[in-house]
């Protein structure tokens, strides 16, 4: 009985608070990350030499450095050149830039997978460049990039827990605090784990639904 009371009065409100912070971290990071990814991916395919090189360096660095290192750079490093960010802002900033680099890989691959011949065919029908991108390139690239980018968002949900390491108290952080107070580490972290599991499962279920709705013959995504 006492256990139940404790869970109802202490654990659930704290974790709920944390969950809301986590979601507030994940949603803007996912959106910004995607925008950055599309931007960088397009530059890596269609950009001039200078832009291409810059984009490639960006991707190499942000995919090569562990996310923890990146978060530390933004949170502990930037104040040394006079830029101060709250833990929350630094987290969103770090997540967006990092996942943008990963998204750009899928965007780039999707753009490259569109056969050149189809662009010739569109031009031979009298399409302008803009119309060609809208009616031929994007619908196909979107489908090809979707599985990879969706996976990246699922990774982002999990990696959002690293915000705790730069003192942004989200779901993991609230769990850590309440667990250290009560010494019920196993129970609390099990519950926290289940919450993340639910988040990632719902996200991947949604992703599969979108993929299935958009599935066309010849666009089956390659297994693993």
């Amino acid at each position: 009985m006492e256990e139940l009371f404790f869970i109802q009065h202490d654990v659930i409100p704290a974790l709920w608070r944390g969950l809301l912070v986590s979601i507030r971290l994940i949603v803007p990071s996912a959106i910004c990350g995607l925008i950055i990814g599309v931007f960088i991916g397009v530059s890596r395919v269609f950009g001039g030499t200078v832009i291409k090189t810059c984009a490639n360096i960006y991707v190499a660095l942000f995919r090569g450095f562990p996310l923890v290192v990146q978060l530390f750079i933004w949170y502990f490093g930037l104040p040394h050149i006079g830029i101060y960010m709250s833990p929350f802002l630094a987290s969103v900033f770090g997540f967006s830039l990092c996942s943008g680099a990963y998204h750009s890989e899928y965007v780039r691959g999707a753009l490259l997978s569109i056969k050149q011949g189809q662009l010739l065919a569109a031009r031979s029908l009298g399409f302008s460049k803009m119309k060609m991108i809208i009616s031929v390139v994007l619908p196909q690239a979107f489908r090809r990039a979707l599985p990879g980018c969706g996976n990246e968002i699922i990774y982002l949900i999990k990696y959002s827990s690293l915000a705790y390491m730069i003192t942004c108290i989200e779901l993991t952080g609230e769990g850590k605090i309440i667990a250290s107070e009560t010494f019920k580490y196993t129970e609390i972290f099990f519950i926290v784990g289940i919450v993340y599991l639910l988040l990632t499962s719902v996200a991947s279920w949604l992703l599969h639904r979108i993929e299935n709705n958009l599935r066309l013959p010849g666009f089956d995504h390659y297994a693993l």
Binding site: G126, S128, R143, L216
Partner: protein
């Protein structure tokens, strides 16, 4: 005996270089209304390049093009897009849009480029697909069609734009042998209906039977032009004779 025909397409002095290599040297030709001109010659001789230079998919280094007496200014975007609508193009490897059904492959140009009403475009697309014998396949995606069917969809896609002239680039060379005849039959049918066409092919039998005029291209040069009988039986140029006899030796009269 020969009717006086109006020229539909006139190409003059087409030249294209890739780096040092000149793949097209000063090629000129005139295509008259209702005429089927067939380009023959060894692979890499410049046939594809010539066809793609005609509608500026490949930017030529020099050369001018007139459609129905009006010169096309390549740098004028709007004019260029309008011109391409009037010139249908058929590619060796079909180049269907993979994300669209056969039907929508045909309608997309009508709706997005010509601004036609959706329903009108659908009706027209169905009609064109019926014409190439694909009534039962209009809702299939490219991945669900055979090579011959894909090529016929691409012909329907080009026809739907009501082109003044069609450029057809080796339409059968990516096809299995048993599928070739269905595509050639469609092209023969077009000719019977008076479509103006320029086509490159390796099918000498087909060329001899249906072409009005044959153009022999080698190393980027037009070496000889003439009726099928002239090219196959009384070619003036040594290279033409050598090419024709080699092809005949390889494939018989097919």
């Amino acid at each position: 005996m020969k009717m006086i025909r109006n020229s539909v397409l006139r190409v003059e002095g087409m030249t294209k270089r890739y780096g040092q290599k000149e793949v097209l040297k000063n090629a000129s030709l005139t295509v008259n209304e209702g005429e089927l001109k067939i380009l023959i010659g060894p692979s890499g001789g410049g046939k594809s390049t010539l066809l793609q230079c005609i509608n500026f998919l490949v930017t030529p280094d020099a050369g001018r093009v007139w459609l129905k007496g009006e010169e096309i200014i390549r740098t004028h975007k709007r004019a260029l897009y309008a011109y391409r609508q009037k010139v249908g193009m058929i590619f060796q490897d079909f180049n269907l849009f993979d994300h669209l059904t056969a039907l929508n492959n045909v309608t997309i140009g009508l709706v997005r480029v010509r601004g036609m009403h959706k329903q009108e475009a659908l009706d027209k697309a169905v009609y064109e697909l019926e014409r190439v014998g694909l009534k039962d396949h209009i809702y299939k995606y490219p991945a669900q069609l055979s090579g011959g069917q894909k090529q016929r969809v691409s012909i329907a896609r080009a026809l739907a734009m009501d082109p003044e002239v069609m450029l057809i680039d080796e339409p059968t060379s990516a096809l299995d042998p048993e599928l070739i005849s269905e595509v050639l039959a469609v092209i023969e049918n077009l000719r019977a209906n008076g479509m103006t066409m320029v086509m490159s092919t390796h099918h000498m039998g087909f060329a001899r039977e249906v072409a009005d005029e044959i153009v022999f291209l080698e190393d980027g040069c037009i070496l000889e032009t003439g009726t099928p009988d002239k090219i196959f039986l009384r070619a003036e140029c040594e290279r033409t004779r050598a090419f024709c006899s080699k092809i005949l030796e390889l494939y018989g009269n097919a």
